[in-house]
């Protein structure tokens, strides 16, 4: 059982639901430590004043912010604490929106909300929110303070529980101006062919079928190195040639796929297919 990061209550109107917050994602990356090459001892980081060339204790360090004028403003820990949002024990729901209206681009870190307390009342209040929101496919928008930062959050129903996601603010998502191509619409025939191809290569999303190959290889590299082996970089796949005739490329891929039957992956790909990937949809579209 993971540890809860925060406990408090989810409040909307005058209803308060006591909850605990758990991260819904965990870091599985391999982490390295800095070592001194000569003796293999751990490296420590010490803070020095650039001007005096002397070590500085933690409590003597402030937070500098450079204004546009070039002038520096220094804030102390105490001052930052004073600006920090009031630490409340509530996630304040301000409104409910349609789940389909929020693009996933806004979602940052995922969490779970779990009911707390031993009494029946709060548990039932939690269940009530799950049922009422789930039926209407609504997402609650609110704000709450975790550590020293106030977050905008979305609370939705997932797998019968309340899932909370911290969100980005609108001005943190860049504009697509200059990225999206303008000009005329794509050739209809080419799109029709591409749609057929996308459907032929279609499948259900089976998350468990995809493993982190990078993590696996990095583990293998470490193991090899421990045994004294030498590690060589793999040869890079060549960047595929851009077909001068898009229609021809679409047709050729479709023909290759038909020749291989419904289970095929496109010919150029060297990646492993998901181990337990279901093939239902691919088979259907071939029938």
């Amino acid at each position: 059982m993971p540890r809860s990061l925060w406990t408090g209550s989810l409040s909307f109107g005058l209803v308060n639901v006591p909850v605990a917050l758990f991260s819904a994602a965990r870091d599985q990356d391999l982490h390295f430590n800095q070592l001194h090459e000569k003796d293999g001892a751990r490296i420590e980081t010490r803070r020095f004043c650039a001007e005096e060339d002397a070590e500085v204790a933690y409590e003597d360090i402030g937070h500098g912010y450079e204004l546009d004028s070039g002038k520096q403003v220094v804030l102390t820990d105490e001052e930052l604490d004073a600006i920090a949002p009031r630490k409340t024990r509530t996630i304040d729901i301000q409104s409910f929106v349609d789940a389909a209206d929020i693009d996933p681009l806004f979602f940052d870190h995922p969490y779970w909300l779990v009911p707390t307390g031993d009494s029946e009342g709060p548990r039932r209040a939690y269940r009530l929110l799950v049922e009422a929101m789930g039926d209407a496919d609504r997402v609650a928008l609110g704000r709450f303070v975790l550590r020293t930062k106030e977050y905008l959050v979305a609370v939705r129903v997932r797998d019968g529980l309340l899932a909370l996601t911290t969100m980005l603010f609108g001005d943190e998502i860049r504009e697509t101006k200059g990225i999206a191509p303008g000009g005329r619409k794509p050739d209809k025939q080419a799109v029709d062919h591409a749609v057929k191809l996308v459907e032929a290569l279609g499948d259900d999303f089976d998350a468990s079928g995809y493993k982190d190959e990078y993590r696996k290889r990095l583990r293998a590299v470490i193991k090899d190195k421990e045994k004294g082996g030498t590690i060589e970089a793999p040869e890079q796949d060549a960047e595929p040639e851009v077909a001068t005739d898009l229609m021809e490329a679409l047709r050729k891929t479709m023909a290759d796929l038909d020749a291989k039957g419904s289970k095929g992956k496109p010919a150029s790909s060297k990646g492993k297919a998901p181990a337990k990937g279901k093939r239902r949809r691919a088979a259907k579209s071939q029938a």
């Binding site: 520096q72 009031r86 509530t90 409910f96 990225i179 421990e226 851009v242 490329a249 679409l250 050729k252």
Partner: protein, 253 residues
């Protein structure tokens, strides 16, 4: 014109779509640098050997992976890069899956995808096909020496690429200890809660939601620059009522 951060090719079968990757997100968190309070000078981080207590030049610092307590295997940059995989210029499409099948918890970082000059037609065709089929391409690609699983989908008039979390990086509900209610909420309570939800229902308008904390920090910085003092305000917490039905009714009143 935004600057691209990576160039490559989305590939499936004989189809190749040359693309450029752009950051989709620009965090606006206010960043400070460390300064010495006594003289306002910058703080430097210096590396020291914990055994010798002496400063170590950066070129004598190596990366070690702890295989057992206190036992490290040293790996260099090239060796770590060797684990990166062979797809450094290819976004290798595995499958096209229904977009609605992918819960957004799988999405980690987001990028915008734009066409390269010689791939505008292919880009538009792929965009149109993903939009029509409401599918996302699941692909693997290597970015900054690390292989990622990615989902590419149509969003307005661009393609968006999300790097994805693997299933074992997510916490499943069964790993949590969720206390169950003995009795389900009754219909009257659900109706009442839904009425309350509807009364608070509105359109999602992200432009109206501001980062008040960021604004407060910037205001405080300006105030301090003018020599003003920064003091905290205090407000009491709300009390939680016990009676669910009464709370619902009172909220709707």
């Amino acid at each position: 014109m935004p600057r691209s951060i990576w160039n490559g090719t989305i590939a499936f079968g004989a189809v190749a779509v040359p693309i450029k990757l752009y950051s989709a997100v620009e965090a606006k968190t206010v960043h400070f640098h460390e300064v010495h309070l006594a003289d306002g000078a910058r703080i430097e981080h210096r590396t020291f050997c914990s055994k010798e207590g002496k400063e170590v030049p950066r070129d004598e610092v190596v990366k070690g992976f702890e295989v057992r307590s206190g036992r490290y295997v040293v790996v260099d940059k090239e060796e770590i890069a060797a684990a990166g995989g062979s797809r450094s210029r290819i976004v290798d499409v595995d499958r096209f899956v229904p977009l609605a099948d992918i819960d957004p918890v799988f999405f980690d970082k987001s990028y915008f995808v734009g066409p390269q000059d010689d791939g505008i037609d292919a880009y538009k065709v792929l965009h149109a096909a993903l939009e029509q089929t409401e599918r996302a391409a699941i692909a693997r690609f290597t970015f900054h020496n690390r292989e990622y699983l990615a989902a590419i989908r149509a969003h307005e008039n661009v393609l968006v690429l999300h790097t994805m979390r693997f299933a074992d990086e997510l916490v499943a509900p069964k790993q949590l200890d969720v206390p169950r209610a003995a009795r389900k909420p009754d219909k009257r309570e659900v109706d009442m809660a839904q009425k309350l939800i509807e009364s608070l229902h509105e359109d999602f308008r992200p432009g109206r939601l501001h980062d008040e904390h960021r604004e407060a920090i910037l205001t405080a910085i300006k105030a301090k620059a003018k020599g003003k003092e920064i003091v905290a305000e205090d407000e009491p917490d709300a009390e939680a009522p016990d009676d669910l039905m009464a709370a619902l009714e009172a909220s709707l009143a």
